[in-house]
């Protein structure tokens, strides 16, 4: 790990200066006038409506399916079961999810049958007429229990599963989705622990959370000859194309994905479910088929944030120097691993328990485990949210054990030669002095996050001497991709922003892009735009005929060191008679590099804070014996505007990022520190330490007063 900051190429001051001007969203007018067409706004001629039957049981053998009544319902055009589709498995990396269950169901909500009908109502009615007999099997809901001898095995054929790239690396226990150990050897770790004056260990737990976007998952699939067309809410069109091809065997070059506008993502829109069944319904009926999930399905049949249990152990010297750290992180992976995008099938964020510090001996073991619940998925900083809550709570607990100031303890352990980290920490600490009096406290959290990488390309084309377009295959899930590309192109070409049009094209007409995830878009597509536009600017000097174009594909190598430091500090008051926590004010310090879209940047940080506030205080997708207990966003509560405290945003514009003009990733940044900062503040306010998210009023009250008597 190196934290040395490589000097970035200098940019013309006037080019970067244009970024200071608040941006106007290029697609904004389309959105506010309702002209932007989201997936659910498409109605190709002859379109049918799909509805799916979900399993009502958590683990069972399917003994019979009777679809005759559904088939006879007027308006029904096709009914499919797992036997009609065959043994077709899909997934973002590991293909372990059947399009429709054949002989067994593994979670409540898993797709068992599907209907295409002339109306949505007929499709839904038909689904209810399908009769399925289930023979219950023992289910397992606790990941640690799933690893014990005699636990139900969810995937007896796991060894035979393929990935989107071929065969799979074998795993040990059949209920393990993925496992990765990172860091020094056990012997080195124990030696380092032996040199510590104090060893502390704590266990933290975090719940499932839904991403909370407003537009539910949806898709339309149709065939024109051999070409399969898809419009969907998937934010990684090229990824979806690859997954569809891998699952169905339809050639990848005969699948065209047209995604453009997406109504919110927060990590959840990289995973597709009903695109696959729509493929088979469209192929069977020869007509376009559209599926749009209800919110009941959205909450119970997609892929929320993984619940986690994290056991952290740290050895320190009496002066506060960290000498050894280990973490055993267990994520509840749910019934399928197919929602995870990486080849390790874990959440790498689980390694970030102490990512902001220099610890000479560190060892992490991160596992994802199969259980009979809905699949674990990605959500804004997957794994890091869990790890940073645990790690930054742990650091404050260590400070308490040693009698040291938590900010001083952090400062002592910062990476060497990294003034940015110290600046971020000090700026956050300076804003919030320690208040006096019981019931009021401040808390802080520090973190370091690496941005995403991967491949992506654009074509920058001069249509005339002062008219340009940039062609991208990226979908914009609301984070401002289109505007970012336009501004980077304008700066690199040295022209006004209104001279640039960003054109979003399908996977058939655009260069590959890995999709809007892992805060990678500005880093990769911004970079590609910058390189292509800079090259084009050079060629324009001698160009006499138009169009002139430059294509550029950038691949940011996995594991490249592009860190950003962030800190969150809050002041809370705690009502000791009710346990209610109120965040009175907050500050978020972000080492953002060069900011390209100032309004979107601020929006990401403020929205990120609100997102973190939800994780800290209220969000939990309750699942009982595999049954999701929330049916709407009326049950699954998200924070709203009146819940937000006054928030100060401090941006440190170091210009040292690897993105264009020195930009750094910010999309999954504002939320990370909020839960531990609040937990730390609560302890300072009333001496209560909560190690389970969310930090509910009842948990505070119970810690103060004991369990309430039932009667």
């Amino acid at each position: 790990m190196t934290l040395d900051q490589t000097p970035m190429p200098a940019h013309a001051a006037e080019d970067v200066a244009m970024f200071a001007r608040p941006e106007v969203r290029h697609e904004g007018a389309l959105k506010v006038t309702g002209a932007a067409r989201y997936t659910g706004d498409h109605h190709p001629a002859g379109m049918l409506y799909a509805a799916c039957l979900g399993s009502p049981v958590a683990h069972a053998r399917i003994t019979s399916i009777d679809t005759s009544a559904a088939e006879e319902l007027p308006g029904v055009v096709a009914v499919l079961t797992g036997h009609d589709v065959g043994h077709v498995l899909f997934g973002r990396h590991l293909r372990d999810m059947p399009v429709l269950a054949r002989d067994r169901v593994l979670f409540i909500g898993q797709r068992v049958a599907a209907v295409a009908a002339e109306t949505r109502e007929a499709a839904e009615e038909a689904v209810r007429l399908i009769e399925v007999d289930y023979d219950d099997l023992p289910a397992v809901f606790d990941p640690r229990e799933a690893l014990t001898d005699g636990a139900a095995v969810l995937h007896p054929d796991a060894a035979s599963y393929g990935t989107i790239k071929g065969a799979r690396t074998p795993v040990g226990h059949p209920n393990v989705q993925g496992e990765l150990v990172h860091g020094c050897s056990e012997a080195e770790l124990e030696e380092a622990f032996a040199a510590a004056d104090l060893v502390v260990e704590h266990t933290f737990r975090t719940p499932r959370q839904h991403q909370g976007f407003i537009e539910p998952h949806g898709a339309i699939v149709w065939f024109e000859g051999e070409i399969c067309h898809v419009v969907s809410t998937n934010k990684a069109p090229f990824g979806l194309r690859q997954q569809l091809a891998a699952a169905t065997g339809h050639p990848e070059d005969r699948i065209v994905v047209h995604n453009r506008f997406i109504g919110g993502d927060f990590g959840g829109k990289g995973f597709s479910v009903d695109e696959f069944v729509c493929f088979y319904l469209a192929r069977k009926t020869g007509r376009p088929v559209r599926s749009v999930m209800s919110y009941v399905e959205e909450l119970s049949a997609t892929a929320p944030r993984h619940a986690a249990e994290l056991v952290l152990r740290t050895g320190v010297r009496r002066d506060g120097t960290f000498v050894a750290h280990s973490a055993d992180v267990v994520f509840d992976g749910g019934a399928f691993a197919g929602a995870k995008a990486n080849a390790d099938l874990i959440l790498h964020g689980g390694f970030d328990t102490m990512s902001a510090y220099d610890v000479p001996a560190m060892r992490h073991r991160v596992r994802t485990i199969y259980t009979n619940a809905l699949p674990g998925g990605h959500m804004r900083a997957p794994g890091e949210v869990q790890a940073v809550f645990a790690g930054e709570s742990h650091v404050d607990l260590i400070a308490g054990e040693l009698g040291l100031d938590p900010v001083d303890l952090r400062r002592r352990n910062l990476p060497p030669r990294c003034p940015l980290a110290a600046e971020v920490l000090d700026r956050a600490a300076a804003v919030l002095p320690r208040p006096a009096g019981r019931g009021r406290g401040t808390g802080l959290a520090l973190y370091r996050r690496q941005g995403g990488t991967g491949k992506g390309g654009v074509v920058v084309r001069a249509l005339g001497p002062d008219r340009f377009e940039v062609v991208t295959g990226s979908a914009d899930q609301g984070s401002g991709t289109v505007t970012m590309i336009a501004r980077v192109a304008a700066a690199a070409l040295g022209v006004a922003e209104d001279r640039i049009e960003v054109v979003q094209r399908s996977t058939a007409d655009a260069l590959y892009d890995a999709g809007a995830g892992a805060s990678r878009v500005t880093r990769v597509l911004g970079d590609a735009t910058n390189v292509a536009a800079t090259e084009l600017r050079g060629r324009l000097a001698t160009a006499t005929e138009f169009p002139v174009e430059v294509a550029c594909v950038v691949e940011a190598p996995r594991g490249e060191d592009n860190p950003a430091f962030g800190a969150c500090a809050v002041e809370v008051t705690v009502d000791e008679l009710t346990g209610e926590i109120r965040v009175e004010r907050a500050v978020l310090v972000a080492d953002s590099g060069t900011v390209i879209n100032p309004i979107a940047h601020r929006g990401q940080l403020e929205g990120g804070f609100a997102f973190g506030l939800g994780a800290a205080l209220m969000e939990e997708l309750l699942v009982e014996e595999g049954q999701v207990l929330a049916g709407s966003l009326g049950d699954y509560k998200l924070p709203t505007a009146p819940d937000m405290p006054p928030l100060e945003i401090v941006t440190i514009a170091s210009g040292q990022g690897l993105g264009p003009f020195g930009a750094k990733p910010v999309g999954e940044f504002g939320n990370l520190g909020v839960p531990p900062a609040i937990a730390n503040a609560v302890e300072r306010a009333i001496g209560v330490r909560l190690m389970v998210l969310p930090l509910t009023a009842e948990a505070v009250w119970t810690a103060l007063h004991g369990s309430p008597s039932e009667h």
Binding site: T578, G631, D643, E698, P708, E710
Partner: protein, 289 residues
């Protein structure tokens, strides 16, 4: 959600005739903030929906000659909340309305809907109970009046019969020296149902409580009046610490809430006690309106 036939009668008589004709396949629709959610979740599947929006007799918000109020069943919560008449005659009612969900929902949700839906977490029922409000119900055999305190039978169940319509709510004129307040405990987000909520009405003369009303939302399968706690307050000095602590403890004992994501049963009972204490203390320091 299933498709349904949509009917728009313009009079109560026409509505009643439709209800008689369509029977149990029909549901009445006022603001729709509850019915449409239930329909989307598949918990209500009406084949016919009879919209009350055009039934003028069911709307309105009027002063009664005796100094009280009449709230039409289809009057929106927002209308009640912002009405100068309500603020003058029953400020506690305006206060409780201001705590219902969000402005967007208050513009849609109705007084009648929030009562006949009979979700024990609704904000209006406890406040109407402390005002001794009456529900006027119209049916094939004429009109009848039921105290709001006796309207609820259980979760989502009221005494309003399938062939009857909740017509309006009558809020009697407050006694001299009456004051009311509402405390909604929302520890998660401001846009939520309460964990528990308490409404209190106190009438005081010459420094002594002559009548008390305490009602709780979220304390059981129905909104609930806590009569033992009310009795304990009569004759005490408003806001006096021992008396209010005793009454608040009796409120806790009167409740049997369900455990859910908003809190365990025991916690909700404790919070009802804390909220009652705080509200009684607040009302003890306020002048009668």
């Amino acid at each position: 959600m299933l498709l349904f036939d949509y009917h728009r009668p313009t009079t109560v008589a026409e509505t009643a005739a439709l209800m008689a004709e369509l029977g149990e396949d029909a549901e009445l629709l006022a603001g729709g903030t509850s019915l449409m959610n239930l329909a989307r979740l598949g918990l209500a599947e009406p084949a016919h929906v009879i919209a009350l929006a055009d039934v003028g007799e069911l709307g309105g918000l009027d002063a009664t000659p005796d100094g009280g109020l009449q709230l039409g069943a289809t009057t929106t919560i927002r209308h009640v909340e912002t009405s100068p008449l309500v603020r003058g005659r029953a400020p506690g009612l305006a206060e409780a309305c201001g705590h219902v969900a969000t402005v967007r929902i208050r513009n849609q949700a109705t007084v009648g809907g929030s009562l006949v839906h009979a979700d024990p977490n609704q904000d209006l029922p406890p406040m109407l109970m402390v005002h001794d409000a009456l529900a006027r119900i119209t049916g094939p055999n004429g009109d009848r009046s039921v105290p709001v305190a006796e309207l609820f039978l259980g979760f989502f169940e009221t005494v309003v019969q399938p062939e009857e319509i909740l017509h309006s709510i009558v809020v009697p004129p407050p006694a001299r020296g009456f004051r009311a307040g509402y405390l909604k405990f929302l520890p998660r987000t401001k846009d939520d149902y309460s964990t528990v909520a308490v409404a209190v009405g106190l009438t005081a003369e010459e420094g002594r409580v002559t009548a008390a009303r305490i009602a709780v939302a979220g304390g059981g399968s129905t909104p609930l009046r806590c009569t033992a706690a009310e009795r304990a307050l009569v004759g005490t000095i408003p806001g006096e610490a021992t008396a209010l602590a005793e009454a608040a403890a009796l409120v806790r004992e009167a409740l049997d809430p369900i455990s859910d994501a908003r809190g365990s049963s025991g916690y909700k009972r404790e919070m009802a006690r804390v909220c009652t204490t705080r509200l009684l203390r607040r009302l003890g320091t306020e002048d009668a309106g």
